[in-house]
């Protein structure tokens, strides 16, 4: 591991000033991803700016009936919070579906959004990878890709974003707030992650040196009836091979509002807007749920070894929406 300097930031302005002064500096939150990547040489920062003491550790009501979640709130605190569990249950479920109790206690909300893909070619510094070394190639396309993207990928990168939390945030129209040396800014989650294109190394629309300060969840009554379902290769403590965050509002057997987002199928949490459009106003039954899933998945471009994901996501979508519809009917 490369040697590095360490600073514990006392305030947000000091933290962003340190990053602005050194392009080789990185923010350190829980470190569960960054420290691991530093051990393998994928990340080689010259200094770390520890943000864990910043006053960004609260979950508060946002003025309009939503919630504002500070960037250094741990994943555990987020999932345990009564208002998150009451108003956005799929978000609590998504966080609880990720990692382990130990890692959730360490990992922060800001860090969760910025975690890197677990693509085996990205995490192995001896392999080519366009995300790690632009222009070096993408061995996954011809190599091991059974857990890679089927939506929104490119000829340059087929890695998936590993976050569970982000999938629920995408469904609920979360907005990411940040601070830079030039002042604050905000990005809707829909615009937070950049399309892959030919620049897979550029992952987010955050300006250089920006510090995520929090995530705001707008009020969403539909979210009170929501679920997160995750499929993985073992019962617990594994990354998804496919996941769905869904919220459903049904009246008289007709879908009034639906939120749907997919995980582990793209370089970012994938908001399934085509499916939402197809389903809004449709009957709340399995045929309509399947048709909605197909509307989204018709854009899928699977590789030889991950074509199963298209079927998986279709079935998962139908199953989750059916559960929510049955719950609404009770």
């Amino acid at each position: 591991m490369r040697e590095f300097g360490y600073h514990r930031a006392a305030d947000v302005s000091g933290a962003v000033a340190l990053l602005a002064a050194d392009p080789d500096a990185r923010f350190l939150g829980g470190g569960t991803n960054l420290v691991d990547l530093m051990k393998t040489g994928v990340e080689r920062p010259a200094r770390l700016v520890d943000v864990r003491d910043l006053p960004l550790d609260r979950i508060e009501p946002a003025g309009d009936g939503g919630l504002r979640i500070g960037a250094t709130v741990t994943n555990s605190e987020l999932a345990a919070h009564p208002e998150v569990r009451r108003r956005y249950p799929a978000l609590a479920q998504a966080v609880l579906a990720g990692a382990s109790g130990q890692l959730r206690n360490m990992a922060t909300v800001g860090g969760n959004l910025l975690q890197r893909t677990r693509c085996g070619y990205f995490t192995d510094a001896s392999k080519p990878c366009n995300k790690r070394v632009p222009g070096s190639g993408c061995p996954a396309i011809e190599g091991v890709h059974h857990n890679h993207a089927v939506l929104g990928a490119s000829a340059h990168c087929v890695a998936v974003h590993p976050s569970d939390m982000g999938v629920a945030l995408a469904a609920f129209d979360a907005v990411v707030s940040y601070e830079t040396a030039d002042g604050p800014g905000a990005l809707p989650l829909a615009d937070f992650y950049l399309p892959v294109g030919d620049t897979p190394h550029r992952e987010t629309a955050l300006p250089p040196g920006a510090l995520i300060t929090g995530v705001t969840l707008p009020p969403a009554p539909v979210a009170a009836r929501s679920r997160y379902r995750k499929v993985r290769e073992r019962a617990s403590y594994a990354f998804a091979i496919g996941s769905v965050a869904a919220a459903l509002d049904v009246a008289d057997g007709v879908v009034r509002e639906v939120r749907l987002a997919f995980g582990a199928v793209a370089s970012r949490p994938w908001r399934a807007r085509a499916a939402e459009r197809a389903l809004t106003g449709a009957p709340a039954d399995a045929d309509a749920f399947a048709a909605a899933a197909d509307a989204e998945l018709s854009a899928a471009r699977p590789l030889p070894d991950n074509a199963y994901k298209v079927t998986l996501m279709r079935n998962l979508t139908v199953a989750v929406l059916t559960e929510l519809a049955e719950e609404a009917a009770r």
Binding site: F4, G5, A79, P82, L96, S236
Partner: protein, 183 residues
Amino acid sequence: MGPAPAPTHSAITLQVNGEKYTLSVDHRTTLLDALRERLDLTGTKKGCDQGQCGACTVLLDGRRAVSCLQLAVAAEGREITTIEGLADGERLHPVQQAFLDLDGYQCGYCTPGQICSAVAVIEEHAAGWPSAATDDVRPEAGVPELTAEEIRERMSGNLCRCGAYVSIVQAVARAAGAEEAAV
């Protein structure tokens, strides 16, 4: 013009099991290596060293964490509890006693991490935290019973390559006072 190079070492004070230790660390030092190599607290074990096995689990401010991904320098100011700090003199912590009584181990290498994790699992459950095994996470649904399924999910960050899981689940359940639910 680049920034001035930053110091790569720091003098830090770690508070471990109620005692203060002052030492100089290379910033690259993990808490795990500081505990084992610098403070001779070798009860905390190194398994994978990548946050995947849980053998290095300790408590930070009462919350379980993997010490292999925790930089020692970033642990300054936090209250660290290791397996050496759980017993009250000669009297074992109830979780330690339950692991002994129910053979919650075979080779024992993962056991300190299992026990530290279990101590926190019982506290997290008592605080009303749901888990991925909890069917209804809404607070109105109440605290889930600490069933075997809940224990297995909550302990899933601690691997045991001997496969002593059956006894581990029973030990955690007994320590939590929930044997009936788990057996």
